[in-house]
Symmetry: C2
Subunit: 628 residues, 2 copies
Amino acid sequence: MKESHCDVLIIGAGPAGVMCANALAREGINVRVVDKRPENIPAGQADGIQPRTIEVLQSYGLADKLLAEGAHLNMMAYYNPTADGKGIERTSRAPDVNAPTTRWRHQITLNQTAIEDLFLNSMRQHGLHVERPVMPTAMSISDDEAVLNDPNSYPVQITLHRLSSAETASMTAANAHTNVVDPTPQLAGSTEAEELVHAKYVLGADGAHSWVRNQLDIKLVGEHTKHVWAVVDCVPETNFPDIRNRTAIHSNNGSCMIIPREGDLVRLYIQLADADDLASGGRLDKSQVTPERIMNVAKKSMYPYQIDFPHKPIWWTVYIISHRVATQFSVKERVFIAGDACHTHSPKAGLGMNASMNDTHNLAWKLIHVLRGWASSNLLKTYELERKKFAQDLISFDRKLADMFSGKAATADNAGGVSHDEFQALLRTEGGFTAGTGIQYQPSVITKAAPTNPTSGILIVGQRVPPQIILRVADCRPYEIQDLLKSDGKWKLLFFVGDCKDEKQAALVNAIGEYLQLPSSFLQRYTPKSASGDAVFSILSIARTPKDVADYTDVHEGLRSHWSTVYTDDIAVDGKNGGDAYETYGIAFSGGVAAVRPDGYVGYIGSLKDMLDGYLDDYFSGFMLDSH
Amino acid sequence: MKESHCDVLIIGAGPAGVMCANALAREGINVRVVDKRPENIPAGQADGIQPRTIEVLQSYGLADKLLAEGAHLNMMAYYNPTADGKGIERTSRAPDVNAPTTRWRHQITLNQTAIEDLFLNSMRQHGLHVERPVMPTAMSISDDEAVLNDPNSYPVQITLHRLSSAETASMTAANAHTNVVDPTPQLAGSTEAEELVHAKYVLGADGAHSWVRNQLDIKLVGEHTKHVWAVVDCVPETNFPDIRNRTAIHSNNGSCMIIPREGDLVRLYIQLADADDLASGGRLDKSQVTPERIMNVAKKSMYPYQIDFPHKPIWWTVYIISHRVATQFSVKERVFIAGDACHTHSPKAGLGMNASMNDTHNLAWKLIHVLRGWASSNLLKTYELERKKFAQDLISFDRKLADMFSGKAATADNAGGVSHDEFQALLRTEGGFTAGTGIQYQPSVITKAAPTNPTSGILIVGQRVPPQIILRVADCRPYEIQDLLKSDGKWKLLFFVGDCKDEKQAALVNAIGEYLQLPSSFLQRYTPKSASGDAVFSILSIARTPKDVADYTDVHEGLRSHWSTVYTDDIAVDGKNGGDAYETYGIAFSGGVAAVRPDGYVGYIGSLKDMLDGYLDDYFSGFMLDSH
């Protein structure tokens, strides 16, 4: 059998897989990604990108096309039964996103294929292609502690099988008349097409029925419901005025959610209330459901508005809602699972693909750090710590949302039903969560405030850096701070230097500049000698000197490697953008320093004095490795 | 000799030429463009893009790359002699652009090659390449009125000569040691490489020494000055804090202007005051000027700041300032000249390339209309009318600016010199002009208000449509109105329909919708029967119904071809963008209609009632041709 070595092997080229593959390929990591499907999915599946995920894609330079091609969901409309109970009427409209600090105050919907293509195109530029149709058939992990503790070892053995055309055909044929997410091929048993890969790390991003998870004997815990829902992607003809808004319809003839999509396409989620008896123990008898049946339910629930379906649906499926989370997200910090392999839930909040991509966005920089020898492998433990907690929160939110959605609407006859106010209140209080911008990672070795946490605003340890316009001092050009925090595998050190035209403040900042040049400082200790000065840490200074008098030369050279790294907190020349960064973030005018993780989350905040007292050194010493 | 026919032949692939070529190629016009240079210029020449030109490029879908690659000039700094007169100090900073309605409140600088590449890349996508090295050698225009009046005739005969490598070499060799803008080859006299082109229209975009202009015997009127200036593109090493701002330095050791450029590049304009005697009658003895001499003047004028030039300059030249405008911009509306062929002036205000590109932006849609048989050839007369007036205004502004720049700074010893306040005041009052957004085309057949001009704000007949965010009703998505006014050769009809939830207003708007469907309406008369309904006129409705209750179905079907064409004037869900469109534009709440020319300038504004009274029909009948 052919044998090979690779640093990271990714199983599955869905959203979680390609997010990780792209992040690693950009940084020159030796990575491979395999998928058992002969081609990318042609239609269907996930379609919702939440505001935080747009920010993340932007940090990889991938948001432009998404924003240009996708539908933007700005407004949500709510319809409820009319007084006579026969039809529906609009109760209200409200902004779809209830999270004021988002950079984009809307979701985006676009077919999953186009979203995956963003990553595939980027990967291609870095020489990485998905190998298909290829599936794993065996996996083992060394249990030798010495091997596991050696950062240069390849403790995972995995057998890959390249599917023959007959094997691929078996997979297609078995699933021809349904829209199964996870087809299984009949293997012919030949070993000619097999390859034994020795990997440092393996990522199972292989979906709800994850082969990797099963190999690792990791369980999913949670429950199935008996609610049966259908989903259909179509181009309807209708006089319904909110057909281009996300719309929740509670009618006495069933619930329905409208998700506008790219072009004139619309996704409809439709509750098949009369089909609940088709579901038992997580299994659904799909043979009794047809697109016609689904569309008939939609027509009834939207009465008195007319909706017709002159074209065949682009894609459709039916499913039972279940809420489950994996008990572990990694084994020995050598094999990881991510995405649907870790969590399954209802698609109503449009969070599935987002959770998946953000799982591996969280994992990728940690793998890069360990593979480069910058950090110890304890860094990898924070993946499960951070993402499992998130998944549990997600499931618990989704349970509430799905129950409300599948429940009957409150009416005169059914006072105990779901009221419009209740439903809207849930979406409002969970606004930061559903937008993804409210995610708070818990304290850990990488998420830690200094004793004198100088922030009292929205820059918070464990949260992503909120958007804020600052001005580049040398040319007064406004920059969104998030655009200075690219997902390039580096730490960003934000030095809030205050007003260096003030002599006392300048003295403090000069001391910081000098400190950073000491061989004992984290900057020198954790930057490899052979690398450029900003290989691991990028330093940005953010002053609060007014733009009319600020000079980039005000800031000590230890805090500026180039004129372009000095910013100030003021309003741009257009009189509109920027200003109040210190106030909004809650930074004292005496300054402070925030260490931003390569994934855009704040790892540390402290005062400038804390830094001189060594707290930032302490922070990095918790997981970084001395390079000298 | 080979013979051929073409609709539009463009001589010269500089900014004016490629703007026109791209605009025509996008619309499928039969166009050719030739240039005598074997390759695009490698460096130097123009580099400034004013705010209005960014808007124009955006309307062609070309602004993204420009914005990403170029330097953004947000701030202007002013330096004047210190009290002791020995050095300079900063007097003030101020926004570089003094025009509040610009969409981008800054200029962009980028090398001319990269700017031309924006167009060349776009042309390539439409199958058009510049033919090089090719130059015209003879031209004649028919004087037969019948031929000239026939829209399908080819009244211009022009001989093109493809340069041999020897001829190309002669051009290069003759100009090897200078940076001449307009090299002239020695022709070997062979006719093998010649082609006789029969053209409907010819555009001479062939620079300051225009061969086409000379053939037409069109004179430049104006004067040469004796001021000698040098320009150098370089990457300096300096402690000057405003090296990344546009900076005007008046020192007792000479004047200097700093123009930051892409990357770390800087352009310096330097007055060679002691070299004025090198210039006489518009001719300059360049042999006595070297880059070292220029840089030494820069060093002196920037004292006490240090500036060093560790690298060879990328490009440099010296020039005498002259201010001249062509007496005619066209002959018989069959041959046109544009760009530097029409106007020469100092480069200080950074307007040259902008004037050139906007010349042909103005011309292109008129050629398209006449070539398609949509409009009569009288439309073409408005090119000279509009652009010659602009060129004269440009020269007169430039004369003032150049005099102030070349004049000595006002000091205790020289009270009559140019004061800082005077200089800043000129830039402030001419802010709209230098930004390009203040351009006002005079009344003409295409620029005409209805009797009841309902606007009292910044939407003005003869000016470009100012930026404004409006919301798409169906999905509440904010749109910059300029992005709905693409340079696609079509008219945009902005129907300000007021609040159609109001019954009386709805009745008026319904009447408009019905009117547009009448065979006698301009919409039906000037849209070819075989073409789609929006082939010539795109209709946008702009309501003022609040977003929470507005429905796109409120607007009569005659005013909406699709859900995406109905907008409203409200603030977006982010609480920041949009709103007050009616107030800002000065549109009465009872509504109105603006006809926006394909180049983005307002051609007509009237009330809705005016339209029912036939004034919009009258407007279009002045130059459009009945297609039935």
